[in-house]
Amino acid sequence: MDAAISLTVDGEGYRLTVDTRTTLLDALRDRLGNISPKKGCDHGQCGACTVLLDGRRVLACLVLAATVGGAEVTTASGLAEGDTPHPVQRAFLDHDAFQCGYCTPGQVCSAVGMLDEVAAGWPSHATTDLTAEPRLSQAEISERMAGNLCRCAAYVNIVPAIEQAAGEVR
């Protein structure tokens, strides 16, 4: 069964017909040629496919494309302005916060979405006082980024990279 949808991806508008079974991840990668979100598990267990959907970080592998017609999708590719990296990307480069690079676009999108959540005052499992404004500590960052697995294990570089970027994106 097919469904006709429109999507804005990294600022570009698209109209496409998708099988109802097609995930947003496959629509981006196989249909629109946007390879930035990666497929690491296809079951919501690794975070490599993280994109910003209408500004929020989600897992594109568990979103059926046909359910998000009209949405605005931002991938790590779209976060950069051409050859100029987003502050989070700049910080990842500065801190060598990746090795093989496969989880990295998802990490970057997740970090951008996460920093917005912190700015909006959302607590996390690491927040001791639920009623206070969360403050971005190492423990807060690592808990909030726990949904993005990195088998090269750049975690101890990712956390300071995000700390650096947090100051810049405010």
Binding site: M1, T20, R21, H43, G47, R57, T67, P123
Partner: protein, 334 residues
């Protein structure tokens, strides 16, 4: 994955009609569990009805002072809600202890309690499972049982319920608002899920086509003194081995009221009525907590298994109950 149609109704009655009239149809919420199951072949619906626009995504105040949480409220938005954070720490903590930031932005409050077991045999269509395929046998019995039940299991199914939120909602006696083809009804949250018995294919008491439209929280002032303690195999992004949702009210040196529910131990969120009975009216002493935990776990039936089984869970659950109660009463005890 079998082909399916997709409908996106904007009102709940229409959504219910579409599913109630079609035995092959299913509701689609945040998709975090169902889309996974479509890929695994665990779920094979012919029609999906997206209900994220058909139910409320608002949190509103009820006349009795408790909030009504619309079924389409995303888990992340719920944890951001200031009223919830102040009044129901155990519920907010339970949501924050589950999944990841991305998944919480997708999963809905109505859908979260309906997620299905993580039993590896349920999820693997090449192995037998009475829950997935009634009558095929239980693959987990004698298999990998680390995450399986110690309470209320049956010979047909030893699966556990994976939702953290559901444990907290069971503890506070939330109410589930349900819309069916015959109209609305409410279900006490503790009656939403069922034990497996001889029909493990049924996780809940909902009929086909019944839609959760909202979850009502009781005013319950005692919930301000509450917590959700989740014990898992890694620091985050893992399902519970054991979890405890607890709220307590002290009157002088006595426990005037207490609510406890356990996760990771049974086919449903396990409301610890026996432990509560021991504690009500008692003094908040470590020995009393231990007695209460022992009473609750008296009927625990640990399982053997491939990787050592789950015998440790009885001890772990008891110790976690005691630790949770100690944390909640620290400073109040002499």
């Amino acid at each position: 994955m079998k082909p399916f149609t997709l409908a996106t109704p904007t009102d709940a009655d229409e959504a219910v009609r579409l599913v109630a009239d079609d035995p092959d149809a299913a509701f689609l919420g945040g998709g975090t569990n169902l889309v996974d199951h479509l890929k695994l072949g665990v779920a094979t619906p012919g029609a999906l009805v997206d209900i994220t626009r058909a139910t409320s995504a608002e949190i509103t105040d009820l006349p009795d002072g408790g909030p009504r949480v619309g079924a389409a409220v995303r888990n992340g938005d719920f944890t951001a809600d200031r009223r919830a954070r102040e009044r129901y720490p155990l519920i907010v903590q339970s949501v924050l202890a589950g999944a990841s930031g991305q998944l919480r932005n997708m999963a809905t409050i109505g859908g979260n309690p309906l997620q299905r077991t993580r039993c590896v045999y349920f999820q693997d269509v090449t192995t037998p499972c009475n829950k997935r395929e009634p009558g095929s046998g239980c693959g987990a019995h004698g298999g990998y049982t680390r995450y399986h039940a110690i309470l209320g299991a049956s010979e047909h199914c030893i699966a556990t319920h994976p939702s953290d939120l559901a444990v907290a909602l069971a503890a506070v006696d939330a109410t589930v608002r349900v819309l069916g083809a015959d109209g609305e009804r409410t279900i006490p949250f503790t009656d939403l899920h069922r034990l497996p018995g001889d029909a493990p294919e049924r996780d809940t008491t909902l009929a086909h086509g019944e839609l959760i439209t909202a979850i009502d929280l009781p005013a319950l002032p005692m919930a301000r003194r509450s917590l959700y303690r989740k014990v898992r195999d890694r620091a985050s992004y893992a399902f519970a081995l054991v979890s405890v949702a607890a709220a307590i009210e002290l009157d002088g040196d006595r426990i005037s009221d207490v609510r406890i529910a356990l996760g990771g131990v049974a086919h449903k969120p396990w409301r610890a009525h026996r432990a509560e009975a021991v504690l009500r009216g008692a003094r908040p002493l470590e020995e009393t907590f231990e007695t209460a935990a022992a009473a609750e776990l008296a009927d625990a039936r640990p399982l053997d298994g491939v990787d050592g089984g789950n015998g440790f869970k009885t001890t772990l659950a008891a110790r976690t109950i005691v630790a949770a109660l100690r944390d909640l009463t620290e400073g109040a005890r002499s």
